[in-house]
Symmetry: C2
Subunit: 408 residues, 2 copies
């Protein structure tokens, strides 16, 4: 895991995707959704070195294909446009044409080259985009009225109830580097980034390959460790832009302070990931599961994901029921090498299982702890040195209500 | 898949685990649960050739270990005892002692040798068995008052709302063979048999190895293809007893009519599995997902399981929302070789997706179909010749209610 020496990285109050130097963002209502903002944009003064990670779902939405292909040409992005309300997924040839036209029109609007524009969509699957409305959105970009990172953060939401943003500051080679980010995601969140979008910006100069590996590494320890309902979608993407406006010597993995940049990126990614998990559909609590003593990183992650994804654990957390049997069960079916007689479990600071056996504990204390809005579970496998943390939420009546009538 | 030539196998009206010749069963209230029957037993006049399949959860409950070890000595079982209310799981050395004592006391009561007694427990995890109550149950066996298969079927229930039983008749070598079964299982049901118990009996004579392979084969196409919430437990077991009371020439895989026996066993297993899925915690509907055109059996099963396990599909079924995007998503993240442009989906008889693209369809008709108590989804991968069917249920408010307060 990346150890975050917090003293080197400061979280900015009221941080946004535009906190780093040289970025603007905004959002408008173009009419895909009834009332809410549904079209957002980010623009960098100069082309930014870019990195991306994408959903592993076999069905990839058209905007993902377009963005991935464009980004990989020069590893540069200058502008991003996002619509909510329609995912432009399972829309075939027409969907691909529409995503390409979005990109082309935005490139004209921003006066940048086509391949420097990233496009993203989120919302209902299988319905063609209403391009007239998208065009309205693109035409409205930059009219000053809608330039505000908060508009962007609102425009990308679907069933989210709150906007998600953060920024950090750090110093490298005497330069003040800022990393900012905004994200959306609520239902259908699962490791490998289901229906979630995150956009991270920095004014550092970073070499392209190092930027990509940094994004992979931090995504695996943040966005890929959250789950709301175990479903993964066709549109997920995390984009990272580094526009170099701080004129630092370009960072790379061999740079003595590379870890400071990595820490900053990890903190931004982790903050956004936790905000997404907490805002899971119908959620009332943020659940954090830490697995220690695993033989490998993958084993630690798999066990943590099994526990965080268990409907029975999620409902027990909702009911503040310290039913550790369900935690042990999830550990047991995670298909990882586990010695049942070595497993210990704690709910908050309350040890409930030691070496696979029940410990006497005060149920009322545990119940009271589980009534907190932030519930932490720790599983010690005593079978190695690797550790992982996953984030999720409780499973509530509202999750059922929201998803039993998503479209009606 | 086993093709069931139904004409050769007749489903018996009012069939039970005691429909085959030479079996008795019963159940009593021994006090582990407040009011309901909580201790059940099955007894065969003569030792029966036996086969078993068990949970794959790393944490295996004490009664499983005891039964597995005993059964494997001679592949014979004559008596079965089951308690509900306490799973005797994660109970360490004491749990193992208790399971062994249950077995010993029951062996004395039935006057059979110890290794011919199978023991099973289901209920809360991590709490030591109250052996005084178990002893009361054992002492009450066979007092005539409680000898009734319905008592057994009730005694093994936990959060189940209905008993689950079936029997079929078939003819082999001029002998009328009967296969009967009873099962429990409601929450925590998942492929690989989470918190479910099934006991299948037949009066046929069957060679031990063939019996075991028959049970494995039919379990993979029945009990291992159901899911309620994706969680799997520590106590699951399917036991199959063949006591040979029909004096047939012992059946084996080379017997010309072996498939007729296999068909009978498949029908019994499938009926019990579907009853379990339909009785999933809070369920209002039985969901059946059939995947066709898969490159392998495993791929067909994995895709069917991914769809049947999706919380978003399950809530859409609850809400009768023909939101096929969620079905396509689940197919996409099943991690099986899939060509998105070849996938077709039908809700009942209504085609909604062809070659990865939305088809126009009448939403009201689809909605009306999904209001049925039995909802069928078909996914055609057009990528091979293999097929699999999985069964599950919808995800409802009641699922959350039941599991947010299981113990309180």
């Amino acid at each position: 895991m990346i150890t975050t020496k917090k003293e080197k990285v400061k979280i900015k109050s009221d941080g946004h995707v535009t906190s780093p130097k040289g970025y603007k963002a905004g959002g408008v209502h173009c009419g895909i959704r009834k009332k809410r903002l549904d079209f957002g944009w980010i623009h960098s003064e100069v082309p930014a070195t870019a990195a991306g990670v994408y959903t592993l779902n076999t069905f990839q939405a058209a905007p993902l294909k377009v963005t991935k292909e464009s980004l990989e040409k020069e590893m540069k992005i200058q502008s991003v446009i996002v619509n909510s309300g329609n995912a432009n997924s399972c829309t075939g040839e027409q969907g691909l044409k529409d995503a390409l036209e979005m990109q082309k029109l935005a490139a004209e609007k921003f006066a940048v080259q086509k391949d420097y524009v990233a496009v993203a969509s989120t919302g209902i699957i299988g319905v063609p985009l209403e391009m007239e409305k998208i065009k309205k959105g693109i035409a409205a970009i930059n009219d000053g009225l809608n330039e505000d990172p908060v508009n962007f953060e609102e425009a990308i939401l679907t069933t989210d109830t709150v906007t998600k943003q953060v920024a950090v500051e750090l110093e490298i080679d005497g330069k003040l580097i800022t990393i900012g980010g905004a994200a959306k995601g609520s239902g259908m969140i699962h490791p490998n980034m289901a229906t979630m979008l995150a956009f991270i910006t920095t004014d550092a100069a970073v070499e392209a390959e190092s930027l990509q590996s940094a994004l992979r590494q931090t995504t695996n320890q943040s966005f890929n460790m959250i789950t709301v309902d175990g479903d993964s979608s066709t549109n997920d993407m995390v984009l990272l832009m580094a526009n170099g406006k701080q004129d630092n010597i370009p960072l790379h993995e061999a740079h003595p302070e590379w870890n400071v940049f990595l820490e900053g990126l990890q903190i931004v990614s982790e903050h956004l990931a936790k905000q997404i998990a907490r805002d899971g559909e119908g959620a009332t609590k943020l659940l954090e599961v830490t697995v220690k003593g695993a033989p490998t990183d993958i084993a630690a992650r798999q066990v943590a994901k099994a526990v965080i994804s268990s409907n029975l654990v999620k409902t027990a957390v909702y009911g503040a029921d310290p039913n550790w049997g369900r935690i042990v069960c999830a550990v047991g079916y995670s298909e990882q090498p586990i010695d049942p007689d070595k497993v210990s479990v704690a709910i908050g600071d309350i040890a409930v299982v030691k070496n696979g056996l029940a410990l006497p504990f005060n149920e009322d204390d545990a119940k009271q702890y589980m009534q907190n809005e932030y519930v932490q579970l720790t599983v010690e496998l005593n079978n190695g040195l690797h550790e992982a943390t996953a984030w999720g939420c409780d499973l509530t009546y509202d999750y059922v209500r929201i998803n039993a009538s998503y479209r009606t």
